[in-house]
């Protein structure tokens, strides 16, 4: 448009040709662009970046030095991990971990029967992969396997059944990773459905159901987990005849599962409240009944928005399982505690090494859960750009 068209050009405008899309300027893309956008965008951001780089520069070399460079890799007792003339700085004492690893994994489970624990781990891994891998075939069969076949067969496998030739193993002998995984898995698997029912109960229009749910949730949230475990583990046997009193591990499992359900209920309730009223009305108007509406319309959407919080609760639960030690159950942390005071390996670095193992174990599991949740969220967000 030239000036010769006169004053008209300033008010009337017609686009004659569409502008084709152009690539963005280079400073927006590439490594430099990423750096600018994410690490150096504002003065505050720059300060944070510097602070974190300094922190990492201080911590990471120390960690690497302790875990690898100064670490002791071979030896048969404490002498290997003690300071000596050749070995002034002593890092992690790996022979200790190596020797006690079976104890960390199986506790005092009889050595001849430990294949049963391995089989349980394998079956659990298959079930988890089947359910969590979104492209896996036949999720319906996977669910039956995970929620019906797996619990029953694991129970038989781990506790034993003389009739089919499996020697009974008292749960007192269980320990280490086995206990941690069993407690966490039962807590995780039981708390979600129970939490959903409690959340629905709390939002129910039936006064009895509602008040029972509220009382349960508020009561459980009002007492610490340690108290629940202590009640289940120590007080309960005082009131009940010995034959009626269930196994100590079972009592702890029930305590943890019921405790986690109350928290899960509140997480799910938050999700239910995020669903607009129109979704309920839409579902009712096409004739769906209450449970159909909940199962097909409301819960899929509510659980989706609560995935971050559900996983957060799971991670908390996973770490809370260490509290079972107060009722004398030997979870992973407790087995490490016991092993680190063993005179055979008593050195200044034994405890640190043991705790490092626990840290790595919990980090792998919790970070794994967190990463899976992130991937799941991203995938679901893509499914309904809404």
């Amino acid at each position: 448009m030239t000036m010769t068209e006169g004053d008209l050009a300033e008010i009337a405008f017609v686009r004659r040709a569409t502008i084709a899309p152009q690539p963005p300027p280079t400073k927006m893309t590439g490594a430099l662009g990423w750096l600018r956008d994410n690490l150096l965008s504002t003065p505050f951001n720059i300060a944070l970046t510097i602070l974190i780089v300094l922190l990492l520069a201080w911590a990471v070399p120390e960690l690497v030095k302790f875990l690898f460079i100064d670490a002791v890799w071979n030896g048969s007792d404490r002498d290997a991990c003690l300071e000596s003339v050749q070995h002034r700085e002593i890092g992690a004492c790996w022979p200790f971990v190596w020797e006690r690893l079976p104890y960390f994994i199986y506790g005092s489970y009889p050595i001849s029967e430990r294949w049963r624990v391995d089989a349980f781990f394998l079956m659990l891994a298959v079930g988890i992969t089947w359910l969590l891998w979104l492209n896996a075939p036949r999720h319906d069969l996977g669910a039956i396997y995970f929620f019906v076949v797996l619990p029953i067969s694991s129970f038989v496998l781990l506790t034993g059944w003389s009739t089919i030739g499996l020697r009974p193993v008292d749960t007192v002998l269980w320990g280490g990773v086995l206990v941690t995984i069993v407690v966490a898995a039962v807590g995780i698997v039981v708390s979600l459905p129970l939490g959903i029912f409690l959340a629905l109960g709390r939002r129910s229009r039936m006064p009895v159901v509602r008040s029972l749910s509220v009382i349960y949730i508020e009561f459980v949230r009002g007492v610490p987990l340690v108290t629940v475990l202590f009640m289940a583990g120590v007080m309960l046997p005082l009131f009940m005849p010995e034959q009626l009193s269930p196994d100590k591990l079972v009592r702890a499992l029930v305590g943890i599962a019921l405790f986690a359900s109350a928290y899960m209920a509140e997480v799910v309730r938050a999700g239910l409240q995020a669903i607009p009223k129109g979704q309920y009305e839409g579902a009712m108007a096409v004739g769906l009944r209450y449970w159909q509406m909940m199962r097909l319309i409301i819960l899929p959407q509510a659980l989706k928005v609560t995935i971050p919080n559900i996983v957060n609760t799971y991670i908390g639960l996973f770490k809370d399982t260490t509290l079972v030690f107060i009722v004398g159950i030997f979870d992973l942390l407790r087995t490490i505690e016991v092993a680190r005071i063993d005179p055979k390996w008593a050195t200044p670095v034994t405890s640190t090494t043991g705790y490092a193992v626990a840290a790595i174990f919990y980090l792998i599991f919790c970070y794994g859960m967190s990463r899976y949740a992130r991937a799941m969220e991203a995938r679901l967000a893509k499914a309904d750009r809404c």
Partner: protein
């Protein structure tokens, strides 16, 4: 209700069991102390198209939501195709199966594809096999002219398309009566026509319709009767001809002078 076994019959308009589609007699409703609906009496014959209009807060939406029991009424009686709406959940289910509803904000299920939105109720409520439900759904998606969107999610469609999906979803249950609660109020101006056209088509097929709307052009073209409400009461009801040319009540005259310029 012979529709269950035979999906062919779901493609044709369903027949009412009685000649009166909806009968509301002396209905009253309160929200707490607030008397929202006062002595509503309305008889809708099979195949009739009723347009309900009035200022906002006049209770028109609440009234049609009472017809499929999304709202409860506290006094009076409501019969839908001969079935009385009471606290009995079976009756409510029965009525909801036969009455389709279209909402102002569509209320599609965002986590399901368009096709799944349409087949959900036929599969779970009518117990139709999945394959038949999909045939029925595609038939109605063709009728609202968006079969090509069947595998998209509602969030990927325009407002007008979403509302047409909502109409198709309701039709898939082969309802005897259709309720529309301000179906075009949340739409961009450019999309109102495509939804109204769909509704006109539906009216031509003889569907019994109760429509809450401010679209007076639609009312003039389609309605057998126009019901004007204010402050929870039916103020005036008449044929479109009579309603627009000789409004009787002062409130009606004022309303019409405000919206018809």
């Amino acid at each position: 209700m012979n529709a269950a076994g035979n999906h062919g019959s779901l493609l044709k308009p369903a027949k009412l069991n009685t000649s009166i589609a909806v009968e509301i007699a002396g209905m009253n409703k309160w929200y707490g102390d607030f008397h929202v609906l006062r002595d509503i009496n309305l008889k809708v014959m099979g195949g009739e198209r009723i347009v309900i209009c009035g200022p906002s807060g006049s209770g028109k939406s609440t009234m049609i939501r009472c017809i499929n029991c999304l709202e409860e009424h506290q006094a009076g009686r409501i019969f839908v195709d001969g079935v009385e709406l009471t606290a009995d959940l079976k009756k409510i289910d029965e009525v909801r199966r036969e009455v389709g509803m279209v909402f102002q904000h569509f209320n599609l299920f965002p986590h399901l594809t368009v096709l799944d939105n349409c087949t959900l109720a036929p599969i779970w409520v009518r117990k139709l096999p999945k394959k038949h439900a999909e045939e029925v759904a595609l038939h109605y998606l063709k009728r609202v002219k968006i079969p090509e969107q069947a595998n998209k999610y509602p969030g990927q469609l325009s407002g007008g398309q979403q509302q047409r999906v909502a109409i198709a979803r309701a039709l898939c249950m082969n309802p005897k009566i259709m309720l529309f609660d301000e179906p075009t109020s949340a739409l961009d101006p450019e999309m109102v026509k495509e939804v109204l056209d769909t509704m006109v088509e539906l009216a031509k097929d003889g569907m019994t319709m109760l429509v809450v709307t401010h679209e007076m052009g639609f009312a003039r073209q389609v309605a057998n009767r126009i019901v004007f409400m204010d402050e929870g009461q039916v103020v005036e009801a008449n044929t479109p001809q009579g309603f627009f040319t000789h409004p009787q009540h002062e409130r009606t005259k004022l309303f019409l002078s405000q919206i018809l310029r």
